[in-house]
Symmetry: C2
Subunit: 461 residues, 2 copies
């Protein structure tokens, strides 16, 4: 992942010592210099950096599949459910979502939820790396009863409480210590809190030397709120108030104009592009290529289960490449190399962890995955003069080809079995919570004017 | 799959007798009426019709991953390889491609290759259902040395020989007998043979009471050939000469105008849309929705490995839905129900096999798949008042959730192991052939002006 390409060592080996990569090189050299307690035979395998999912909301997994193929996704699809989700529900769903990612090669999860301190326990337990963000807004719970288009009311006591939780998270998982779990500051969006709280969230990021992880221009819904409240679109507003800088992780930029996209890119802010999610929810392709063309740094995220509907980076790599080809009507405009870099080294850079993860290099954290190259979906393997490994990982692999995952030097999945958490038990516990949730939400769901509920009634789903 | 929806039976069962479905209904009724030699417990599983891949070229699998992310895909990417592919190479690659599909729930393969009689042996061996087509054109082998844009030369002796092979295929696998393998007539495209041979291919379809399976308006390359040769675009040309009718399976229609698309749809011809392939190769979204809006019948196919690059219908369902949402900038325009129907009942209808396959109904062939609904990617399962099974199959499943496949009443895959053919042996044999192929093609590859070869040279791949 150094330079512009992906790097390739035929018959190579990786030496791991503790949580760190001790060496990467030809097998004979590495095995000579590093006698090991355990040697894992990689014959017929691909060893590569673990995948980094820069933006997701694992707390919403219990409502996967309830809100796609419709308009007003958030207000009519998700909220009637979400108001009934307890923190325990979120945690149980989150666990299954994390396991889904691990099973498909994700080693770092950029998770963004309320009550993140509770959800972070899942990362303690699974052994996955996480960049966690508390989702802070100033909106009272009655927000879910608003009509589409109404201006959101703000409640400073709500904002204060949520900011306090973000502070606790930052204290428990300081970014500066570069541990396995690190925390960011998380204003949910410029439309979802007062300018005053937004500035406090930036101050929080400054004093903790961390990033500001925020949805920006994520939909016409947001732009509408900003214009109603401030008479300005999101990005000019953020620029005016000093939020465009290299501390900002701008998520989505779905509604950003070319000019606005360029302004964010040139500011040094990072962009996180959620290809599958925005494709399904909005039928749109955010301006990642424009962002790159303006010298910006961008990477990929899988967003939330009710909306994408999956959370794994093989899907995001493929979607990002194909959707951008189609956007520009040019098959060469987003290639497999860019896709795989955007889920590894570029994600690490955007998250500010490029010295820790994102490539296999001596001194970096030992986050790596082992992929069975003898699966039919990766067949055949050609190396010279044409090398087809990266294209087939991006365009053909489905995720189940990942058979081992090592995170922070520890084997978390082996022979496709997650060894830190029992998957079946997690699924059973989550399903029980989902069944109870549906009972509680049933009346609200029937009342909500959701296209999905209508389709079920009509026997179409 | 009856009516417009997908149908749903909670705690249901399917009784299979020989190669046929004897009953579908509530478990207590079915198990009372049909005492079985073997009962397969489907608790926590989804049982659904096997997926139908209406259009693919399994013979090209040995060159998967050599030609994406570039322009002039066919001439600069594929042909330098393809000229060195032997029939045995094609057969070995085809086998792995079929196994890839079976592992992801494909039970019927719409395979389209030259030397199909040889490749069809793979379907005999795997036990998969197949609709096979001999790829007939009139182009001499020197075609691969043409410059991009040159008019293709025709050689009647080539056409004669290929047509003869299609006749043999039709005799061995008559469509009228509705066996597990049935044959179609396969003119490769209106640009790739004389009008005379095209008419003979239609005559062949007529006398064998089968379909005419043809690429139509598949790219600007084809339209350019047609305009140069006849002064006409493909579809007006085909209309003028009587090819637009319910015998035609029109593949791609990538370059069809709205008016041309409507003409094909109204004629009763079927359309096969290859979402992943055309997205990757051309960066385009063919007019499937326009075709449907004009009363046409359309379905999905995965096309060839060097170009898609995968061959499995979970990918096609998702790609078709999302790419069309993006094309129309509307998330509701192509929903999960349409996607799953387009890979089952609609494929069956387009192929003329709706009385045999495509839904679970008494009297139809027992082609069905069993999916583990307790995999994290399908979590959670909600049934009332919102049902999320179909959306999560389309937008979240990766294919490995399919654990059993029954084709023509026979178990072909159980516990994810294909029982008719040893997958590892097939991959090994194919890899050996791929290694030898690369040796033979090496000089041509280096000479070809392929972007992919350049990227490898530059260390970018």
């Amino acid at each position: 992942m150094e330079g512009q390409g992906v790097g390739y060592i035929h018959k190579g080996a990786v030496a791991v010592s503790g949580s760190t990569i001790a060496a990467v090189g030809p097998t004979d050299e590495v095995s000579r210099d590093f006698p090991a307690h355990r040697t894992i035979d990689g014959t017929g395998k691909i060893v590569m950096p673990g995948l980094i999912d820069a933006h997701m909301h694992t707390g919403l997994t219990l409502v996967r599949g309830v809100a796609q193929d419709m308009n007003d996704w958030m207000q009519k699809g998700i909220w009637p459910f979400a108001k009934h989700l307890t923190t325990e529900d979120k945690k149980l769903g989150s666990m299954v979502n994390i396991l889904e990612g691990i099973q498909a090669g994700t080693t770092t999860f950029g998770d963004y939820n309320d009550h993140m301190l509770d959800l972070a326990e899942n990362y303690e337990q699974t052994g996955a790396r996480a960049v966690v963000t508390e989702m802070v807004n100033e909106m009272p719970e009655t927000i879910v009863d608003l009509e589409v288009g109404d201006l959101y009311p703000f409640d400073p006591s709500v904002g204060e409480e949520k900011k306090r939780r973000n502070e606790q998270l930052l204290e428990k998982y300081p970014f500066t210590e570069k541990g396995r779990i690190t925390a960011l500051s998380g204003p949910q969006g410029p439309d979802m809190m007062s300018l005053e709280l937004l500035k406090e969230m930036q101050h929080l990021a400054n004093i903790h030397h961390t990033k500001l992880h925020m949805h920006v221009a994520q939909g016409d819904r947001e732009i509408g709120q900003m214009e109603k409240r401030y008479g300005k679109r999101s990005i000019p507003f953020l620029e005016e108030h000093g939020f465009l800088n290299n501390r900002l992780l701008a998520v989505h930029l779905t509604e950003a104009t070319d000019e606005e996209t360029a302004a964010v890119a040139r500011s040094g802010a990072g962009m996180i592009y959620c290809a599958g999610s925005i494709g399904i929810i909005d039928g749109l392709v955010p301006p990642m290529l424009t962002f790159l063309e303006n010298g910006g740094r961008a990477c990929l995220g899988s967003d939330q289960a009710p909306g994408n509907n999956c959370n794994q980076m093989f899907n995001e790599m493929k979607m990002a490449a194909i959707l951008n080809k189609v956007k520009r009507k040019d098959p060469s405009v987003f290639n497999a190399t860019l896709a795989i870099r955007s889920a590894t080294i570029e994600s690490a850079r955007v998250l500010g962890l490029e010295d820790q993860i994102g490539s296999l290099r001596r001194g970096k954290k030992a986050d790596l995955i082992v992929i069975d190259a003898e699966q039919p979906s990766l067949f055949p393997v050609l190396t010279d003069p044409v090398r087809n490994i990266v294209p087939n990982l991006v365009y053909s692999a489905r995720g189940h080809e990942v058979e081992m995952s090592i995170i922070d030097g520890r084997i978390v999945m082996e022979d496709r079995n997650v060894v830190t958490v029992d998957v079946k038990t997690a699924v059973k516990a989550g399903q029980k919570a989902a069944d109870a949730l549906v009972q509680r939400a049933s009346a609200d769901l029937k009342q909500a004017d959701s296209d999905v509920v209508k389709m079920v009634k009509q026997g179409l789903l």
